[in-house]
């Protein structure tokens, strides 16, 4: 057991956790940030994707004891960051996913949305191929991905009436 200082969604959280716990377990079961999902146990599905220093990373394969000092963004962090930046409502990428119907069961979507966020931060106007390649580590079983692409394109356009 070790007291970890984790920078999650802009906050510094001090959390006592056994050293063999993954970041996903600490986020979900110690910090109550259950938006990051667990689908496959071991890095095959992408549902636990979080951003570490802006980079899509699998929380289920990251030890919490190795990410101190890094900026961790989970799905719960997007709305507060959006509001802090003067925005209203939800983050535009989240909004776009809702608007295009990309959210069926929703289980893969926190990870998917964070992968999309990272893509758009790097490449504000991605091609379909770039979208597909960037999301190729996030499995979705409901949508056939089509409405997810539409969401990313919509978020890129910023046309979210």
């Amino acid at each position: 057991m070790r007291v970890l200082r984790l920078h999650v969604n802009g906050d510094c959280a001090e959390v006592a956790a056994p050293e063999h716990w993954t970041l996903l377990e600490v986020l979900r079961y110690k910090l109550g940030l259950t938006g990051s999902k667990q689908g496959c146990d071991k890095g095959d599905c992408g549902a636990c994707t979080v951003l570490i220093d802006g980079v899509p990373t699998l929380a289920c394969l990251s030890l919490a004891a190795t990410v101190e000092g890094k900026q961790i963004t989970t799905i719960e962090g997007l709305v507060p960051a959006h509001r802090a930046a003067g925005g209203e409502g939800v983050d535009p990428v989240q909004n776009a996913f809702d608007k295009t119907g990309a959210l069926q069961c929703g289980f893969c979507q926190p990870g998917m949305i964070l992968s999309a966020k990272a893509l758009l931060a790097k490449n504000p106007n991605p091609s379909l191929k770039e979208i597909q390649e960037s999301l190729a580590g996030n499995l979705c079983r409901c949508t056939g991905y089509t409405q997810i692409y539409e969401a990313v394109v919509l978020a890129a356009k910023g046309d979210l009436a």
Partner: protein
């Protein structure tokens, strides 16, 4: 009774649809996009224990003894459970209760549940599991359906009336198929097979139970069938069902994989009772693969007779269905494998002989398109071959055999609306079929297939005459309408659907509707999310409830304004007086008037199917109040050097009746098509030579990523159904069926090989290409 009222398919306020048919947002979309939505494993309760399962390492064995003493002695272990403590059998189909919460005397596949431990944390529970000592007597295992058919000993289930390994046998004949053989211009007879595939919903199964000190038990479970779980819990735990509450939290996908009562639900409940503490069990992905209930592997033999003009004269089918270790929905599967093939084409004569056997494999059950995806694959490939041999265009042969609307199938199923011809026309035009079929360069091809599927079933699993779906509405003085429905939203959007229907019927905005679903304490019964029944049945019940309320609201306003009721119109939350244009009020004011007039306001609605089905044993199984229809064209490329099939694009036209929300319907068509395509070229739920799942993980069971998914062009065809809610039918399962044979037929167009045995691995493609070269 009100439940059988027909609500009509037109807009309720004579002003066109205001909500229905629009691309409204889903009621839970934002909660899912932000991570606020609570799924079962997101529930954490004070003092909660974590439970783990001990599973059988043997495919077939008798349990001689279980010693849990070492596990119990491990510090941190709070409760241990073995099968003898919960010996009552259950099964989702009440006629075939052959499962127990934990194995009592035998294990029947590798992964079968044997014992469970609840501990302070997961690590302790895992350690304790390894300390349980089980003595097994290993029995001969049967891993192959053909072997099961001819091997009565040892019976996998021993105390049934029949002492063999046949789970269910159905043989039905309509007309006289043999008589057609001599008079036919063409007879095509071939073997086909469909392999094992699974649902792989992204959320693993999870259940949490609390047993309160007042004797009430609450179970949260990732289930598609809250009501059946409720019944099964009462039966197995031998508790008064009135003291059990089952809640389905937000569900991370089902596809039929959460449609049975599962071991973990009984186990956490019993452990919660035993320990007096909340208990959670979350299955690993590996455990989900063992729980399975996936698509039944089938070996199928079809013989179709036809005239020279392509008219089908008879279809004769013999099917061998691998049921795996338990019955699950198998009785229904066996019927569905034959009963659901009799459209969209007219079969004048039809016979099927379906046998489901038990094997020592993870149990099979209902996967999206339950029981009918496999025969559809076989038949549509056979029909393509008939067209080819008769030199008839494959779309044309499907047109010529069209069954028609408002008719009856050879096996007595009532067909109402039928948009199949429009589906065919749509994909024919969209794919530029006439210019491209048979004319693309070698290696590239397009293929077509059609299908139909049930919109609900009038077979209610356990016999009763009560409604299949109920909905209750509650009016609040704030203007909020709360809808209580037993319907299970599994991601398909049924809660949103209910909100749209109630908003439309009441003339208010969907934002003023709140849906409370799938909580047995709060919501009227619905039978669950299976057989594509929710839109049709819960939808009709919602309209029924809303219409009753609407009459009261209109009456109250009419009295207050002293106008005729026909002059009161609710529109987007505003009530207008059609006789005096200037007068209006908000719907909130109308609610107040109605509450003054009628007291506290609410309503209930229900739906039950009309009497349906042929007058013979099993005639009601597969008879639906409406059927959806589908046609797909798939475009593939075959790399003749590697054998790899790339599915480039699928045009998927689906007749869903009225599209209540086209955005959601498209999502269902796209998701179904994607899933079907994956079954052809990627996915296989394989066992190795030990009977152990070859790769129970999402690494080795390869569901498509974004770069593996074909371009999906969903087309909605709206044949307004007279009995569907505002004319709607299902969209969640039907569109999977056509995908698979369309791809098979496209491969034939591309390289001239008929693939009849799924999956189409590159190795099989290469072998077929070589065989063709050798023939030439």
């Amino acid at each position: 009774m009100a439940a059988r009222d027909q609500h009509g398919s037109e807009a309720p306020w004579d002003q066109g649809f205001r909500v229905i048919g629009k691309e409204n947002r889903k009621v839970d979309g934002m909660a899912k996009a932000t991570g606020e939505a609570i799924y079962t494993d997101d529930i954490q309760l004070p003092g909660m224990l974590h439970a783990k399962m001990l599973r059988s390492p043997h495919a077939h064995a008798r349990i001689l003894s279980i010693d849990t003493s070492k596990a119990e002695a491990l510090p941190g272990v709070i409760g241990v459970l073995v099968g003898a403590e919960l010996p009552v059998r259950y099964g989702v189909i009440p006629w075939t209760p052959d499962e127990t919460a934990l194995a009592v005397d035998k294990v029947r596949f590798i992964g079968d549940e044997v014992a469970a431990v609840a501990a302070l944390d997961e690590d302790t529970a895992n350690a304790a599991i390894r300390l349980i000592e089980v003595e097994y007597e290993i029995l001969e295992s049967i891993l192959d359906a053909e072997k099961a058919l001819i091997t009565p000993e040892p019976p996998i289930h021993e105390d049934r009336k029949r002492r063999d390994n046949i789970s269910k046998h159905v043989e039905l004949e309509f007309g006289d198929v043999e008589a057609q053989v001599s008079s036919a211009d063409i007879v095509v007879e071939e073997d086909y097979s469909f392999h094992s595939t699974t649902h792989a919903a992204m959320e693993p199964h999870c259940a949490v139970a609390v047993a309160n000190s007042d004797g009430r038990l609450t179970l949260w479970s990732s289930t598609q069938i809250t009501h059946y779980v409720h019944r099964a819990l009462a039966r197995v735990l031998q508790l008064d069902p009135a003291r059990i509450r089952v809640i389905q939290p937000c569900l991370g996908g089902g596809f039929g994989g959460k449609s049975d009562p599962f071991s973990l639900e009984f186990v956490v409940a019993q452990l919660a009772i035993k320990t007096g503490r909340p208990v959670k069990m979350l299955w690993t992905r590996e455990e989900v693969f063992y729980a399975h209930r996936g698509r039944h592997p089938m070996k199928m033999h079809y013989r179709t007779t036809a005239k020279a003009d392509g008219t089908i004269t008879g279809v004769d089918a013999k099917l061998l269905i691998d049921g795996g270790a338990y019955s699950s929905f198998g009785l229904v599967t066996t019927y569905y494998s034959g009963q659901l093939l009799t459209g969209p084409y007219d079969f004048p004569n039809y016979r099927f002989d379906s046998t489901r056997v038990f094997t020592n494999r993870p149990p099979n059950g209902p996967k999206r398109g339950h029981g009918s995806v496999q025969p559809r694959f076989a038949f549509e490939v056979q029909l393509d071959e008939i067209a080819q041999r008769l030199n008839i265009d494959p779309i044309e042969i499907r047109r010529r055999n069209f069954l028609g609307a408002h008719t009856e199938t050879v096996n007595g199923q009532r067909i109402t609306s039928n948009g199949f011809l429009e589906c065919l026309q749509e994909v024919e035009a969209a794919s530029d079929w006439k210019a491209r079929h048979g004319k693309l360069p070698h290696g590239r091809g397009i293929g077509v297939a059609g299908s139909m599927y049930i919109s609900g079933t009038n077979y209610p699993v356990y016999p009763n005459k009560m409604p299949q779906a109920g909905v209750q509405l509650k009016i609040d003085r704030s203007g909020l309408v709360t809808v209580f429905t037993g319907g299970n939203d599994i991601g398909q959007g049924s809660n949103s659907m209910v909100a749209y229907l109630v908003a439309e019927e009441l003339g208010i905005q969907p934002s003023h509707i709140k849906v409370i679903a799938a909580d047995t304490d709060l919501c009227p019964v619905d039978l669950g999310a299976y057989s594509s029944r929710v839109t049709f049945m819960v939808g009709n019940a919602a309209i029924d409830a809303a219409r009753k309320l609407r009459h009261k609201l209109v009456e109250a306003v009419a009295v207050a304004w002293d106008v005729a009721q026909k002059d009161v119109r609710f529109m987007d939350g505003t009530v207008v007086d059609l006789s005096a244009a200037a007068r209006s009020m908000t719907h909130v004011e109308a609610f107040h008037l109605a509450e003054e007039m009628f007291d506290t306001l609410g309503s209930t609605g229900a739906y039950n199917t009309p009497t349906l089905g042929g007058d013979y044993r099993g005639g009601t199984i597969g008879s639906a109040p409406a059927y959806s229809f589908t046609a797909h064209v798939a475009e593939v490329e075959v790399d003749t050097e590697t054998g790899r099939i790339t599915v480039h694009k699928v045009w998927a036209a689906h007749d869903c009746g009225r599209a209540l929300n086209p955005m959601i319907v498209r999502g269902q068509i796209e998701g179904s098509t994607y899933m079907g395509a994956a079954e052809v070229v990627l996915e296989s739920h394989d066992l190795n030579r030990f009977g152990l799942h070859a790769g129970p993980s999402l690494l080795d069971y390869r569901i498509p990523t974004a770069v593996d998914t074909p371009e999906l062009a969903a087309r909605i065809i709206e044949s307004i159904d007279p009995e569907g809610p505002f004319g709607a039918k299902e969209a969640g399962e039907g569109p999977l069926h056509s995908t698979i044979p369309a791809i098979a037929n496209a491969v034939f167009d591309a390289v001239g090989i008929r693939l009849r045995h799924l999956p189409f691995t590159p190795a099989k493609v290469l072998a077929a290409l070589r065989a063709k070269e050798e023939q030439a």
